[in-house]
């Protein structure tokens, strides 16, 4: 496959453009998609770039089809991905569920927009519940919530590898702001950073006969005849997801050692939280910063440890949604007695000022 980026180079571009370049650099073979704001330019740039590098693209008739074509492509051994947002993310839950059930290495980039329904075409963090636990499954998903363009680039690369290594559907959870804003980043070839891209492999149509027992049959199933069969599969996959979780979990933590209040946020809001913590510290308020990078699996132990070592009395959860990160966090750290405070600003941006004001009002 033709090398996309020979030497590391700085770039100033939108998050959508970044995602397309990262998929190229990751060696993605094909994208399937259906247009929806604010992710359109991922498709737009991919369709411009892909033919130059011998990669494929198909616009399907809707998001359900886009998701299922990715499910098909990865079974044939192609590194395939899709991107969507809002109502498109809702429609894709069925194929995402299939990817969970059949352990398909699917990668989806989600650029959250306002909801419910068509909401706004702009921005939110309201697709957290949908992306982490959507569908009729058990949430066997790997979800990276990015905050910068550099992270979009880094985690698309990492996401493809996670999908193919662990065989759980993997999500890069961005938002409309990250999609549409321009900011600097560095693009690189993964191999030059010592990142080995996992070789993809067909999941079906393998060589060798199963009748003569040359190999085990591939049993990729999304429906079972017996309750007990499904039960065994769900237990097995749940156990596997649990056992690999510790090596997947990622988080950021700053100044929690002596924090009296820990500010918890994810994605683009964590940038404002970081600024807020610095400003509060400068004013003598001992604030700490905690950010789950993986929303699934959630850095539960790490957050519990941060709470324990700080002895903080309060945990402030700030999000551009009405409690989606809050509910996720609450279930993960069940039993902690720290008082949970909330700053819910669904569908609008949060700046440091908002967080600082909230902290002062409760401190």
């Amino acid at each position: 496959m033709q090398q996309v980026i020979t030497e590391s180079k700085k770039a100033f571009m939108t998050g959508n453009e970044t995602a397309a370049w990262a998929a190229l650099a990751s060696g993605a073979d094909v994208m399937f998609g259906y247009p929806i704001t604010p992710q359109n330019e991922i498709m737009h740039y991919w369709t411009r770039l892909a033919p130059q590098y011998g990669r494929g693209f198909l616009q399907t008739e809707d998001e359900i089809s886009a998701g299922f074509t990715v499910c098909g492509a990865v079974q044939s051994g192609k590194k395939a991905f899709t991107a969507t947002a809002g109502p498109g993310n809702v429609l894709m839950q069925e194929p995402f569920g299939m990817a969970e059930g059949m352990r398909l290495p699917l990668l989806a980039i989600i650029q959250q927009r306002g909801g419910p329904s068509s909401g706004t075409v702009i921005y939110s963090q309201q697709e957290v519940a949908l992306t982490t636990f959507g569908g009729n499954g058990e949430g066997w998903r790997i979800v990276y919530s990015t905050a910068t363009h550099q992270e979009i680039y880094d985690y698309v690369i990492k996401g493809f590898n996670a999908a193919w290594k662990y065989r759980f559907p993997t999500f890069i959870l961005g938002d409309g702001y990250q999609a549409k804003m321009r900011e600097p980043l560095e693009m690189y070839d993964p191999e030059t950073r010592g990142i080995k891209m996992i070789d993809t492999y067909p999941l079906i149509g393998l060589d060798g006969s199963i009748t003569t027992a040359e190999r085990e049959p591939q049993h990729l199933c999304n429906i079972y005849s017996l309750e007990e069969e499904l039960y065994d599969v769900v237990l097995k996959n749940s156990a596997e997801y649990k056992s690999i979780s510790p090596e997947i979990v990622e988080y950021e933590e700053r100044q929690c050692e002596d924090a009296e209040i820990i500010i918890l946020s994810h994605g683009v809001v964590s940038r404002a939280a970081d600024d807020a913590v610095k400003a509060l510290r400068a004013q003598g308020i001992k604030a700490g910063y905690f950010r789950p990078i993986t929303l699934r699996p959630y850095p539960e132990k790490q957050l519990r440890a941060a709470i324990a070592k700080s002895g903080a009395k309060k945990l402030l959860i700030a999000e551009s949604a009405y409690g989606q990160l809050y509910r996720l966090t609450r279930q993960e750290i069940y039993g902690e007695t720290i008082k949970m405070e909330t700053l819910f600003m669904p569908g609008v941006g949060i700046i440091d000022y908002d967080i600082i004001s909230k902290v002062k009002s409760i401190f």
């Binding site: 600097p184 940038r271 700046i351």
Partner: protein, 192 residues
């Protein structure tokens, strides 16, 4: 430099987003931390278009902001739409040719500045370079990028047009210069 936040607003087709993009590129080329984000709601289909630009030496936090250091309103409607981005530290700029009610202007501003950008473009240059005059004004008001860096960014963006018609280069650079001068003068003067 400390963080500078600029909101640029106008009608679709005025080139608000193009100018914002050129300014942001120029700042990036000077190795500064830069974020540029357009508003891209449904108002882009026939409403006021706003560009949010932030430039700093340090890492920049949230992509949008509540209050700007400089607000530039390029249409009468944009004045009312952007007044809330102004506080006591804001330079609020609009075209002196606009018919604007005092109630539309921000109640708080460091300075409210009326610039004859449209008139100057129409009479001295060409209506098409109105947005470049505004770009010059942004630089005159904020110094977020070096003037030469702005010219380079303009060349990068419009070079292919300049190649076909070299007069355009001169026209654009003149517009940039005029806008900068206009803004610098306005800072020296009292409130318009």
């Amino acid at each position: 430099m400390a963080l500078v936040k600029i909101a640029l607003a106008g009608e679709g087709g005025q080139g608000v987003q193009s100018v914002a993009e050129i300014i942001a590129e120029a700042a990036y080329n000077e190795e500064k931390q830069t974020i540029y984000i357009p508003n891209f709601g449904l108002e882009q289909r026939g409403g006021v278009s706003i560009a949010f630009i932030q430039v700093s030496d340090e890492r920049i936090g949230a992509p949008k902001f509540n209050k700007a250091d400089v607000v530039i309103a390029l249409s009468e409607r944009a004045v009312g739409r952007t007044a809330h981005y102004s506080d006591e530290n804001t330079l609020f700029v609009y075209d002196s040719g606009f018919k604007v009610d005092d109630t539309d202007l921000p109640s708080e501003a460091k300075k409210i500045i009326g610039l004859p950008a449209i008139d100057t473009a129409n009479k001295e240059l060409h209506p098409r370079v109105f947005n470049i005059i505004i770009m010059g004004a942004v630089i005159g008001l904020t110094n977020i990028v070096d003037f030469e860096a702005a010219k380079t960014a303009l060349e990068n963006k419009l070079g292919y047009k300049f190649e076909k018609n070299p007069d355009l280069r001169e026209l654009n650079f003149k517009a940039l210069e005029l806008g900068k001068q206009m803004a610098e003068e306005s800072l020296k003067e009292g409130v318009q």
